[in-house]
Amino acid sequence: MDFEIAPEDQAFRAEVRAFIAAQLPPDIARRGQHDYHSARDDVRRWMRILNTKGWSAPHWPARFGGTDWSPLRKYIFQDELRRARAPVLDRCALDLLGPVLCTFGSPEQQARFLPPILNGDAWWNQGFSEPGSGSDLASLRTRADLEGDHYIVNGQKIWTSEAHYGDWIFALVRTDQTAKPQAGISFLLIDMKSPGIVRRPIWSIDEGLSLNEIFFDNVRVPAENLVGEPGQGWSYAKFLLTHERTTSAVVSHTKRDVDQVRHLAAAARSGSGVLLDDPAFAAKLARLEAEVIALEWSVMRVLHAAENDAAGNAVASLLKLRGSELSERAALLAAEALGDHGLAVMPDPEGNHILHHDGLSPGLTDDEAIGVSAKAMFRRATTIYGGASEIQRTLIAKSILGL
């Protein structure tokens, strides 16, 4: 056993940090301080910069434009991006679709779809959830019927993140109505400009827009856009959900949030002093910090565990459960740090993410404070999406404890 990070990996971190510091455009960096979803243009610009360095998708195989970094280095890279508050990239394309295409896609699909992702040109959405299917994906009903060399897609997807940006969507669709629920599902790539697609924004309780509903009405999709084998969609979905075992911990995000809370609390007046010196608040922050440390070291264990290592799997299972809880707690604590203003709606100064265009704002000037209350509200979703905490506990009880 050796728990030290090797000097080469520390040097790698320094290299990444220096690159970001030099290359991240200042205006994007400033917007990154705000707790809003990254703007489409910022993501595109930043992806192109990363692409010039070959760092758009480090976790893809090198032959598809990725790298051969170790799991630890891939983690360090993401960690430094979060530290710098670089734009949050198109995770659906990079983390979900990319690995599936690299593994199961045809050479034509790989050649056609992967490069635009690397260059930030195509934004992808994930079309899994449907109304009524929630955490129970096998019950999905969107159908794709083969007619000649096209699938005709009908149905509805929901909770589609960033679909208002989306150029393409990879969707689970039912191509065989007679097979068992999980066996009739295929993995289909659909151009969002196709006739018959309607998007409906779902404003969320933070008054922000990231979720959408998508309706498919006789949408024609070329049969060549089906990935892998028909009826294998379920196994590809499971592949992508387990492929990245540590992302759901969002630990680098939460580390950044803890630092943010400290920054805000050091500036927040509390009586004649500052909030960071209030023992009760400081203890809450310290507790959060300790839990985040424990989470990060759990990530380290998973990064270094073999794929089929039982202990590694056990630890991986807790990452989403606790990572999501800490993510929300960090956001709530940031709002608490702002006191009265943490209870207020703070519109994005760039004019995005506005449901009610009333121009009202408490007028915070600290970039770190902007959007904090929206984040506190939005993070309520963390323990719901991607398998609710209740589902995670059942998984842990059954798969690890054998209950």
Binding site: I202, I205, G339, D340, L343, P362, R380
Partner: protein, 380 residues
């Protein structure tokens, strides 16, 4: 002791329920949010016409003879319906602050105007550095002028008059101020629950009248805040109760994995815990009301305990109501998220759990301290 509503109180509760059922459907409320002021003048007139603006005020102070129980009934009903108008800051905090002043023509006139619905008066007392602590005031009164800043004055955007607390060497005074006067700048914003509030900056701003002289303001403002704490706690109980019922109804109909969500034991137990939090909040709310007639220290402890419990319960119930709804609970277009937003704001309003625990810690009262012969009751 009697935990039952009188027939008059029953009638009041029914009246509130009828009003909110008719005028405060979720759709109607959404329209009001869209209008951008959080205040419908017809609603406000209805509050006046129905006697609610003076329902919790003694007759000799210009009210209709009720007390904190009547306020509780209204606020609980408003909590259930997520009423947006600044009833609490005006009809509870401002009115009870005024009522704690010695009788005077000015005081009686202000109360009469508020009760009639003709004036909206808000108390500008809290400051950003106070974080809810009632006794931390930096704003200064000197030479008939006020300089300083006040934070999150709910309803302040609609107020024709402000009651501003400010410090002099002799102590805290209260001043009647015209918000349109020179030297006052206002920042209007919306809270997460769609209530409207303002931050105020005073730079040698003139006062219209002195309401409480320096050193006499502390007890007066404490009386107003005490009613505010009770009122917001009652509102929380109403909102929690409604959120729990809504969640119960949702999970008993929503099907997943071939059954209704309500058959899952962990969800059942979560709902039991939510109910417990709500009922404990209601219990300690009663205690808070009882404390309004007690001496200063006992009342301070009782209200701090109340708000500490209510703050954490509000967050717990609100967060879990969304959790049990799943994705749909996160949407603007579905009601439960608005309950969470209201409960979130309530959790921090008048100070959060930490502040009130700190207040309690400073008192160290035994449970069996004899109630003394009420030396300094917090309310008249």
């Amino acid at each position: 002791m009697d935990f039952n509503l009188t027939s008059e109180q029953e009638a009041l509760a029914d009246s509130v329920a009828r009003f909110t059922a008719r005028d405060y459907t979720f759709e109607a409320r959404n329209r009001l949010i869209g209008e951008g002021t959080g205040l419908d003048k017809r609603h406000w007139q209805a509050f006046a016409d129905l006697g609610w603006l003076g329902a919790g005020l003694a007759e000799d102070a210009g009210g209709y003879g009720g007390g904190p129980v009547e306020n509780m009934i209204i606020m609980e009903g408003f909590g259930r319906a997520l009423v947006l108008e600044p009833f609490l800051p005006v009809a509870l905090v401002a009115v009870q602050t005024l009522a704690a002043l010695p009788p005077s023509t000015l005081r009686d006139m202000l109360i009469a105007e508020i009760v009639a619905g003709d004036a909206i008066v808000a108390v500008a007392h809290g400051e950003i550095a106070a974080r809810g602590a009632p006794d931390y005031v930096e704003t200064v009164y000197e030479g008939s002028r006020i300089t300083g800043a006040k934070s999150m004055v709910i309803g302040g955007h609609a107020a024709s008059r402000l009651i501003v607390s400010a410090r002099s060497p002799e102590g805290l005074g209260l001043y009647l101020v015209d918000p349109a006067a020179s030297g006052i700048s206002t920042r209007h914003y919306r809270l997460l629950d769609n209530q409207h509030a303002v931050d105020l900056a005073f730079e040698n701003a003139p006062v219209l009248e002195t309401l409480a002289r320096p050193g006499e303001g502390e007890a007066v403002i404490a009386a107003g805040l005490a009613h505010g704490l009770v009122g917001v706690s009652a509102e929380a109980v109403g909102a929690m109760d409604a959120a729990i019922r809504m969640t119960r109804d949702y999970i008993t109909t929503r099907r997943q994995f071939g059954t209704t969500l309500s058959t899952f034991q962990t969800l059942q137990h979560r709902m039991a815990d939510m109910l417990v939090e709500m009922e404990l909040s209601r219990s300690i709310l009663y205690q808070g009301i009882a404390s309004l007639g007690q001496s200063g220290v006992q009342c301070t402890r009782a209200l701090a305990a109340m708000k500490a419990i209510v703050s954490s319960a509000a967050l717990f119930v609100g967060r879990n109501a969304v959790q049990l709804h799943g994705g749909i609970g996160m949407t603007e277009e579905y009601a439960i998220g608005h309950y969470y937003r209201r409960l979130f704001v309530i959790s921090g309003q008048f100070g959060g759990e930490s502040l009130h625990l700190k207040t309690m810690a400073g008192l160290s009262q035994s449970f069996w301290t004899e109630p003394t012969s009420r030396p300094s009751p917090i309310m008249a």
